[in-house]
Subunit: 452 residues, 2 copies
Amino acid sequence: MNYSVVKGTRDFLPNQMIKRNYIFNSIKSIFELHGFCPIETPSIENLSTLMGKYGEEGDRLIYKILNSGDFLKGVDLSNPSDINYKSIANKIAEKGLRYDLTVPFARFVVNNRNELNFPFKRYQIQPVWRADRPQKGRYREFYQCDVDIIGSNSLLNEIELCEIIDEVFAKLNLNITIKLNNRKILSSISEIIGKPEMLTDITVAIDKIEKIGYEKVICELLERGLDQEDINKIDPILKLSGNNKDKISQLKTILSENETGLKGIEELETVFNSIDKLNLSSNIEFDITLARGLNYYTGCIFEVKANDFSIGSITGGGRYDNLTGVFGLDNMSGVGISFGADRIYDCLEALDLFPKEINNTTKLLFINFGERESQKCIEYARILRKNNISSETYPDKAKLQKQMKYANDKNIPFVALIGEREIEENKIMVKNMISGEQTLMDINQLIEIFNL
Amino acid sequence: MNYSVVKGTRDFLPNQMIKRNYIFNSIKSIFELHGFCPIETPSIENLSTLMGKYGEEGDRLIYKILNSGDFLKGVDLSNPSDINYKSIANKIAEKGLRYDLTVPFARFVVNNRNELNFPFKRYQIQPVWRADRPQKGRYREFYQCDVDIIGSNSLLNEIELCEIIDEVFAKLNLNITIKLNNRKILSSISEIIGKPEMLTDITVAIDKIEKIGYEKVICELLERGLDQEDINKIDPILKLSGNNKDKISQLKTILSENETGLKGIEELETVFNSIDKLNLSSNIEFDITLARGLNYYTGCIFEVKANDFSIGSITGGGRYDNLTGVFGLDNMSGVGISFGADRIYDCLEALDLFPKEINNTTKLLFINFGERESQKCIEYARILRKNNISSETYPDKAKLQKQMKYANDKNIPFVALIGEREIEENKIMVKNMISGEQTLMDINQLIEIFNL
């Protein structure tokens, strides 16, 4: 029998949980400082809500849940040759697992619109599931930490998201670069060569420039159906150089005839100008090759990379003008980003950036010398806890060595030994596990140690 | 198209999340004060891990996940009349959703035993899923908050769990009664009538005594196959009276010949005697009719009821001597309880016990009067956040009334108005939203308001 975890999923041990919670709590605290409110949506959604929102590949990767009871009821099996898994999947499975937090959020906004305060600022930290092939750094169950503002077109929201990114990673001590682009500019590239239908092909190709280089991107563009004349027009865009201001000014000339492109540039410029005055600690970079996969983005798009560790994007997002439209609510523009907790974890681990003091373990262990002594211990432990000092009594009368090893393995800084003499004298023998020093004291003196 | 949530699942709005987090954080803080460490297990497990652990009913209620890709590969469809949903279910679905936290925890302990520090004290707060018929107070997705000690036989663990129950509900200000029983005593009842195989029938019947009354329980016992002689033997057990000590003493006489029963009584007595000295604030009651459904319990069993609100059990658990055995690890006794966050929520809501101060919303909203003013606002907001004061700038230049309504609806206590004059003078007009008072001040004075 196979009793291991499902491939691509993970057990989290206490020391991993403590580090993960450090990341979640850091992110959450910044979200709340900016006035974002928590929400949660169900893990299980109707497939009608999920399907068709993530492209064909996404549909395939959604985990589908078998209907309860006789799921074959109503399925015609009389002609076996007519049956294939694609044709019966949507009959035997009508529910699926959440694939991301953005689409359920759009559904949430539509369903609860009468109870929400717009512009609605929400954050959501929950797992998502993808029936993907597991590989290093890619899991079938992983957490997303999303923050979105919906119901406002203002670019102040884009600016606030940059501030949030900056503050989160400053708090985590991770040096990062925020990459910005704008979907309108990408659209304009396909427009100026007169091939708007090629937008996706073009963005998919130029997105790879960092990985495969300029020459290969040009080859791919030609393969995908662009001609040499198109390449000549796109070439200067791929060769933008200098700082953000330089790049924007070069692009303004190149796209001077294209309204969509100029609108995109104007949006980016507003964001850059405002952020310049805020003295963020992160680099912010205009990157024309940044595309972001999902089709629902319509304005600014964001991506974050760690400067000192190579792991791909650790945060990403963008502006979507009509995500709630598919659920029947138009004119509800939103913008949001998603922090990838697992990759951030890997960065912090690799760069040794987890603070030592987050291991908030038991402060004191009472050694168990037998029934009478341990009764005294649990009474003392109760007093310590009332003073907010975490403490436990070893449950068994085991060998002292075994109990001390338990304290050591759990990094417990103090151990209390209570024998007959201590009971009689109302004292506690306290051992500092780092210095090895032993001191006899009463319970009030013990409490004081922790209040220093 | 159906875009509502799946029946039996729920969206959680910010004001609900804040209350839920208050419950989770309260429970978590008590767990940590007792030295329990957090773990998490995957939502998705192999069905081989889950099936057969929860009885037939449980197996039916486990959500099964359709295999990825061509799930019909290897399924013989040539003889349609041979096919039924039961026979193909385990071929097309090999994974399922977590049904509770205890069985995955047992699997976790077995798989990770070399990295754990025994006796291992863990807590786990995660959702579970059951394909149940939704009804009031019963959901298809709900959170469990579990705390277990595994790898120790000591009754100090049972005592600690009673303390945890007491401290959690004291923190939540909810008056409760802890009901205790012992599976060994229940076993002995079936033994003294010479029908050990009837243990489940007997416990299922007497568990209903509070709901349906003594007479009907007797009828049910007779229907289930007991005879009048058996009833005569069981009758005094069902009629135990007085306080815990009285009941135990009566039971000692009744079960004087039965070793299992006496062992169970001894265990209960030890727990009661120790707890008597701890001055808990909760009632603790020996309840011989308490059975707990799951078959894996072998010693003490616990259940908690709210004194002032009728909603069934809000916490429950017990001792299991061999839960890890099915996963290949014997001699690993454990004991644990599970807090039902949803029912606790309903209790606190019904009794109006949620503290008012948990709504930790934005402290100050900057009103947006236009581009130049809002740039100043976001610079100020940044300073406030650096001083740990949550603040936001209304993203759009909307009508003042609309912006004030936003602040009101979000319960934001202060609003800042910055017009041209304020910019020139480096001042901020701060309005107290409760008193209505307006005061002109500089940023340092504003920070001081919140530090008072």
